[in-house]
């Protein structure tokens, strides 16, 4: 069974802090994603990566950056946290798009509160 592990379930940070959210998957998936989930807005894509050291902006990348130094690990970085980044953050992984039946496997999420 695919396992996607996010390092923290709950996180409280102060405005202006640099925040790291870590995600590790154990199924050798090429693709990894970071989404944020807010009520009424669904899951919005922040960044994704289709290979080591490769990254692409999603729909809402402002205020975020990512790092993928190893295939199994994808980190989301908030350079200077702000209160409007308070949200649930979900990491996911998948096989490449051209693989048959390539669903996303999600981690349990990190609920970040910025005060």
């Amino acid at each position: 069974d695919v396992k996607v592990t996010q390092s923290s379930r709950y996180l409280v940070k102060r405005t202006g802090e640099k925040v790291f959210l870590e995600c590790v998957q154990d199924m050798d998936h090429e693709n990894m994603f970071w989404y944020r989930q807010d009520p009424g807005l669904g899951l919005r894509l922040i960044y994704f990566s289709y290979d080591v050291k490769m990254k692409e902006k999603g729909d809402i990348p402002e205020g975020y950056s990512v790092s993928r130094e190893k295939k199994e690990r994808f980190s989301l970085i908030l350079e200077s946290a702000s209160t409007n980044q308070t949200s649930m953050y979900l990491c996911a992984s998948s096989l490449p798009i051209n693989a048959v039946n390539s669903p996303l496997h999600f981690g349990n999420g990190t609920r970040l509160t910025v005060t």
């Binding site: 989404y35 289709y50 996303l104 496997h105 999420g109």
Partner: protein, 110 residues
């Protein structure tokens, strides 16, 4: 651009049927459906690839009309365990990413 889901919310009694719709303005390669229960991660239900196929398991099935860029999720004879938020996710041809709709909250009561 996010696909549009409808309805936003639906309340059912056990045994009733429901349809959740998902539409996109983009040419799609595939459509995914996920269910998320409160406090949990979204769980994959099924994926439909372009070709207009219909898939299903148990009492949950889905269709994909690639010409209209629309997909529908059909829940028949709903059970209490069907309660949750349903998301459709779309992938465009030649793309790597899955974009999700805002979700449909479904509540099944006894």
């Amino acid at each position: 651009q996010q696909p549009v889901q409808s309805p936003q919310a639906v309340i059912l009694r056990e045994g009733e049927d429901a349809v959740i719709n998902c539409s996109s303005s983009k040419a799609l390669y595939s459509v995914h459906w996920y269910r998320q229960k409160h406090g949990e991660a979204p769980v994959f239900l099924m994926i439909l690839l372009k070709g207009g196929e219909q898939k299903g398991h148990d009492k949950i099935s889905a269709s994909f009309n690639e010409k209209k860029q629309q997909s529908s999720l059909y829940l028949t004879a709903s059970q209490l365990s069907y309660s949750g938020t349903y998301f459709c996710g779309t992938e465009e041809s030649g793309g790597f990413k899955t974009i999700f709709g805002a979700g449909t909250r479904l509540f099944v009561k006894a």
